[in-house]
């Protein structure tokens, strides 16, 4: 059995089954990300692991111990909440030391741990401030510090970056990655942002409607999505999924396939009249380091092409598009992957 093992976990709220049978193994020190659209159950799953909700069926084992019926306070897990949930009437230092004080730890030891966490997170000058005197980013670090001080078996993060502005989000993402490298702590991280998933995770778990669609390493999911949903969820801009008829005959493909998926970077521009697919430019987005070109085909399909070079194309121009035939994903009518050329 691995460090954290979920078996057949189910959760029902009244008539609605929010989590429909989840099996998951997490090894010690691994950074696992739960990702998925709103309402897919990722936060619920996290809260089940935390003990803030009780399972309707299934079991959770942590470090060999069955914690399915154990209350949150005794699971030895720490959680960083989306809204930070800091204690408004306590200073930063008191917030971070609360759990240890409850456990009647030695004050000297508490101080040492709090100071060390404050050092890692650059919170030293703020130890005596109240949460309302801190900025959003600082409050978030206090929330993380509160978790670090406890040295729990697993860290749980519930969409910690969603309340931060874009610049701070990128910065904090990097800090979280560095923190994980330094502490090596087992972490479960919930987010709806697939960029965070790709950059932070050792293991990505994609959830939809309360069930796991696919789990694996980030690049595994990128290169070999198990179905159309995962294929279009991972990767920005979205993978182009079009009717197989868009491709000229003889492009390969498998019996039973209805759709074919191509990543934007696997499409290449050709002058009009050349290339496997004819298309017309709708919009050009010049991002500086790369350029995105939105096109539509005569049959009405809308596709996105990504390239590193700048372009002088404008809306209305006719072009040709070449497809990298060794980077195709074939889906059946239900969206399941039949074959991928890789």
């Amino acid at each position: 059995m691995s460090f954290l093992e979920l078996k057949g976990v189910e959760k029902q709220f009244g008539e609605v089954k929010t989590i429909k049978g989840v099996d998951l193994s997490i090894s010690r020190g691994q950074f696992t990300v739960f990702v998925g659209p709103s309402g897919c159950g990722k936060s619920t799953l996290l809260r089940l692991i935390a003990g803030l909700e009780t399972l309707t069926a299934g079991s959770i084992h942590l470090d060999g111990r069955d914690i399915t019926r154990v209350p949150s306070a005794q699971r030895d897990l720490a959680m960083v909440f989306q809204s930070y949930a800091l204690y408004p009437h306590m200073s930063v230092a008191d917030n971070m030391s609360f759990a240890l004080r409850l456990a009647k730890a030695d004050p000297a030891v508490i101080k040492k741990k709090v100071d060390r966490a404050a050092e890692i997170l650059n919170l030293g000058p703020y130890l005596h401030r109240l949460p309302r005197e801190l900025s959003g980013g600082q409050r978030q670090r206090v929330a993380i510090g509160r978790a670090i001080v406890r040295e729990p078996k697993v860290f749980l993060f519930d969409e910690p970056l969603s309340n931060l502005d874009a610049a701070l989000r990128g910065q904090t993402r990097v800090e979280i990655a560095k923190l994980h490298r330094e502490l090596g702590a087992t972490t479960i991280y919930v987010t709806h942002d697939q960029v965070e998933a790709m950059t932070l995770a050792d293991q990505v778990v994609v959830l939809r409607d309360g069930a796991i669609e696919q789990k694996g390493s980030p690049l595994d999911l990128y290169d070999r999505p198990a179905n159309r949903f995962v294929a279009q969820f991972i990767g920005t801009p979205q993978m182009n999924v079009v009717d197989r008829g868009e491709l000229p005959a003889g492009s390969g493909g498998v019996a039973g396939a209805a759709f074919v998926g191509i990543r934007p970077e696997d499409l290449h521009l050709k002058p009009a009249g050349q290339g496997q697919i004819a298309a017309q430019v709708e919009l050009v987005e010049a991002l500086g380091a790369e350029t995105l070109i939105y096109l539509h085909t005569p049959r009405g399909a809308q596709i996105v092409l990504r390239q590193n070079e700048r372009t002088t194309l404008a809306a209305g121009d006719d072009v040709g598009v070449d497809v990298a035939l060794d980077h195709l994903h074939w889906f059946d009518p239900d969206g399941r992957l039949i074959a991928a050329a890789h």
Partner: protein
């Protein structure tokens, strides 16, 4: 005149200021008049038109103390208000806690039922309570008043505490739980400090209500346990119009609470609106 120009704004401000002061003084006038009258002699008090310039005297205040032992009545008011409020809070807090953090399907119904018990006129319970008090030899005791005040204000206390407890974001309680807090610890370290303002304002409001309570004081007490409300009522008997003395007595009766109200108005509003108004 353009109301958006700087001079237009100034005029608007001036008009508003005048109007606001006018209304405020109008509303406050009766109290002011009474206050002024308490320093007059009886003759000055009933003079028509009213006398505004005179030498103030403290005779009326001393007379009130002589005639009816003001201090005893004041003590009764104080004791009954404070004790009934404290006991009420002790009973109401657990109830509010239970309903705020462990709500069930019946919670809303229970709250509404509690509030509805307050709507029945006290008169409706007068006869039974009087008979019970008489049988238990509790007439004219502060104990009886304390119990009655406490029960009268209990629904309000539960309701207000409930609203204030609900203001606490549940994530903070979850965080405390993850940090290893038991129920009692949660209450002591997190809920209590955060709800302290609400608890204070609830207490203050009920203190005011108990102090001003007249109905039960008049009917259940006589010479021993009478509160200030009863004292004032005794001045209304047609023994002749002792206006300035009446004013003095009234001022003495209401001064503590009015001043109290001035200082704690922010908390009181918080309490009064009990979360229903943001």
């Amino acid at each position: 005149m353009d109301l958006n120009s700087p001079s237009g704004q100034k005029i608007a401000l001036g008009v508003r200021t005048l109007a606001a002061w006018f209304v405020a003084l109008l509303l406050f006038f009766p109290i002011l008049f009474m206050l002024v009258t308490s320093f007059k002699t009886e003759l000055q008090a009933i003079a028509v038109p009213s006398v505004w310039i005179f030498t103030p005297t403290l005779d009326n205040f001393t007379h009130v103390q002589e005639r009816s032992d003001y201090l005893l009545y004041a003590k009764n008011s104080l004791v009954t208000s404070v004790v009934s409020t404290l006991v009420g809070l002790l009973i109401a807090a657990p109830a509010a806690y239970s309903m705020a953090f462990f709500p069930s399907k019946r919670t809303k119904d229970i709250l509404m039922w509690m509030l509805s018990t307050k709507m029945m006129p006290a008169v409706g319970a007068l006869v039974p309570v009087y008979v019970m008090a008489q049988t238990a030899h509790l007439l004219d005791t502060t104990f009886a008043l304390i119990v009655v005040f406490m029960l009268s204000n209990l629904p309000l206390m539960v309701w207000m505490l409930y609203s204030h407890f609900k203001e606490i974001p549940p994530e903070i309680l979850e965080a405390a739980r993850m940090d290893g807090a038991s129920l009692l610890t949660e209450f002591r370290h997190v809920i209590l400090p955060l709800a302290m303002g609400g608890i204070a304002s609830t207490g203050l409001l009920c203190l005011v209500l108990a102090w001003n309570e007249a109905f039960w004081s008049l009917n259940l007490t006589a010479a021993n346990a009478g509160t200030l409300a009863a004292l004032i009522a005794s001045y209304s008997s047609p023994e002749g119009l002792f206006w300035s003395k009446l004013s003095a007595a009234s001022v003495l009766a209401i001064a503590p609470i009015v001043v109290f109200g001035w200082f704690s108005q922010k908390q009181l509003v918080q309490g009064l609106t009990f979360g229903a108004v943001k």
